[in-house]
């Protein structure tokens, strides 16, 4: 993994300040972030919580690949922080934080957007929604690419 990239699949509460502490660099004037949190409605159902399942080792490897790809898209240096939660979260709690810094804003925005879109398509993480009526359901997702 690059020394400018910190990746975690964590069962602990996510602290946003940790992300900004990591990406902070004197030569970087732009900080961009994406924070995902649990919302109370999905497809008309009242969500009370979400459980995340993950293949931790494989997910970490794939996140590392995605970070390398983000860096390869620009000649500007990036610092990248990604933490994805594993376990159960209540509505309003944070499931993922992606933070990117770079010397200028364009590269930070582009990398942040690239990272979240690729994570949704490629990272082996699944979520099960829990509803106010007592039912639970696994969310349909993106089929992984197999070469």
């Amino acid at each position: 993994m690059s020394s400018n990239c910190l990746i975690q699949i964590s069962e602990n509460k996510i602290h946003i300040q940790d992300a900004f502490d990591y990406i902070s660099a004197n030569e970087h004037g732009a900080n961009s972030s994406f924070i995902g949190s649990i919302r109370s409605k999905n497809l008309g159902k009242d969500v009370i919580a979400v459980s995340y399942d993950a293949c931790t080792s494989l997910a970490t490897n794939i996140l590392s690949q995605i970070c390398e790809e983000a860096q390869q898209q620009t000649t500007e240096p990036l610092r990248i922080y990604i933490t994805h939660f594993k376990g159960r979260l209540q509505v309003g709690e944070t499931s993922i934080i992606i933070a990117v810094s770079s010397p200028h804003r364009h590269e930070a925005f582009v990398a942040c957007r690239f990272l979240i879109e690729e994570i949704k398509k490629r990272c082996p993480i699944w979520k099960q929604e829990h509803y106010s009526n007592g039912n639970s359901e696994w969310v349909k997702g993106h089929a992984l690419c197999q070469h």
């Binding site: 494989l58 994570i119 070469h147």
Partner: protein, 92 residues
């Protein structure tokens, strides 16, 4: 020389609803491909939980991995091992 090998397959995401332990053991002929392994898993899940309608489309859209990488479609199975079956993902 063994003509059959034993695969332990961990089930992730929505596949866990078909098996309480979230893993299943199946035997397949040595040198089987991943399609043969999927067929064996479907048969085994239907045998274990006959009252559940096994979502074969979900299994068909899933891919195999080990702890570090997704296996290539052309992989053949030569030894007893543990694999993971990954259904479509939805992180974030």
């Amino acid at each position: 020389m063994n003509t059959e090998i034993t695969l332990t397959v961990k089930l992730k995401g929505a596949l866990q609803q078909y098996n309480k332990e979230s893993k299943i053991c199946v035997k397949v002929p040595n040198n089987s491909n991943l399609s043969t392994l999927k067929e064996a898993i479907i048969r085994a899940l239907q045998k274990e939980a006959p009252t559940l309608t096994c979502d074969t489309a979900l299994i068909e859209s899933s891919v195999f991995a080990n702890e570090t990488e997704i296996l290539e479609r052309s992989s053949t199975l030569k030894t007893d091992q543990t694999l993971i079956l990954l259904p479509p993902v939805c992180g974030g």
